[in-house]
């Protein structure tokens, strides 16, 4: 498709600038003029190379997501090959899914924190073309990991696992995207997550590492939390269904199975 050197450079430069500006100002808040100016290409270049602004956004994502999701599938393949039929540990599954993503944040050649923030911010956008794009882009990975979770925690209702996967995705997306709420939260001592005024050079790689380190235990804790009382319906008395969590011990069927 693209065979000339200049052509390739132009495409990549547009994608790089678009990625950055979409992250900083949002899709609708970023005009093609700003993008082409920033990339030092002509205004018409975007339409020539990508066809439209919508297609440009999709390409910004496809460039990173195809790698990410291939990597995720590969990681799961390896785990399942090792396990040889035995169910995986939840922590392994989460590591393969979220760890792979978070590693992007440490590698600017994969998009770095800029791409991760863009991803987090875009996942909740209501525009139809974005949603259908993500739907098709993620379908296979989600299905595979869903099944892996089902196998890993066979005693937990599947619907419950789907919800929890959803919660985990949310915690991750938001943790990455929400520089701002976090700034409100802090107002205090948070190491060197120092806003983004003079920052962004404040070592995104260190931030990505710390984020991964803190996020993974949280996700695992949420995934393996006791089931909501209404779903237990076995051991607990139906007395006060909304406030019976004084000593939330993890039940047996939520413990990982050791291979």
């Amino acid at each position: 498709m693209a065979d000339q050197k200049t052509n390739h450079d132009t495409r990549e430069r547009i994608l790089d600038v678009a990625e950055l500006l979409f992250m900083a100002n949002g899709y609708e808040g970023t005009s093609m003029r700003v993008i082409t100016t920033g990339a030092e290409v002509n205004l018409a270049a975007v339409n020539y190379h990508f066809g439209s602004k919508e297609a440009l956004l999709c390409e910004v994502f496809r460039r990173r997501l195809s790698w990410l999701n291939r990597e995720r599938l590969h990681a799961l393949d390896l785990l399942e090959a090792e396990a040889a039929g035995a169910p995986l540990k939840p922590s392994q599954i989460l590591e393969a899914f979220f760890g792979t993503l978070l590693r992007i944040g440490e590698d600017s050649s994969l998009g770095g924190m800029t791409f991760l923030r863009l991803l987090g911010r875009t996942l909740t956008q209501p525009a139809e073309f974005i949603r259908t794009f993500f739907a098709s882009e993620y379908a296979e990975v989600i299905e595979r990991y869903k099944q892996a979770l089902f196998s890993a925690l066979p005693d937990v209702p599947k619907a419950e696992l789907v919800w929890r996967l959803h919660f985990m995705l949310g915690a991750m997306s938001y943790a990455i995207a929400g520089t701002d709420v976090l700034r409100v939260l802090t107002g205090c001592e948070l190491g060197d997550w120092a806003g983004e005024g003079a920052a962004d050079s404040v070592d995104d790689r260190a931030l990505a590492r710390r984020l991964a380190q803190r996020l993974m235990p949280f996700l695992l804790g949420g995934l393996r939390a006791p089931l909501p009382s209404a779903l237990q319906s076995l051991t607990s008395s139906p007395a006060s269904p909304s406030e019976g969590d004084t000593e939330p011990q993890t039940p047996n069927h939520l413990q990982e199975k050791q291979p």
Copy 2:
């Protein structure tokens, strides 16, 4: 300020329609013309009553958030009065913070799921005026609840608690906002979370209840998860710091204290 009946009705109608459309199409994806047409008022009415489109969005939120955050502060006041100086249980704090929010979803006179979805989708938006608006609107509540968490879990590093509060906010926002990702996730048996084609009348109140019921245990599990290994640095050997979670027992200092 507003003293005539028609005036009041006009304002409220604009706010109602704007809330719905901002939720469905996003802020930048919703023109004032669509809003005023939907509300059956004149195009100039928005600028007359609110001053600008930005101010309109802020007013849409202020109408709901002032109630919500007042309620949250009140709930915390009650808990602290009951406890009489003793630290609260984490589950109580989460119930006061997230339970109060989720109850909005069950009451359409408080905005219902429409407002919750709008809130979730807007929290990650990069536009500056929105972020500063939320920052000031949330500052007091966040500060109070942060301190409550610090007191409830005094042995957990404060920075860690701030991160986890952030993760919890994310899981919640995203769970509410992400009708779409969830649709991808499911493709299957999720009770009656049936897209939004013919739905929205599919009993938002039931959805809100189920969401709360499933979300709260997840959040509590995440909040009380074992600390990341690099922060423990006491009992565990520093051998393999990233993969030492075969049996994630909750350490003592993460257990709730009983009053």
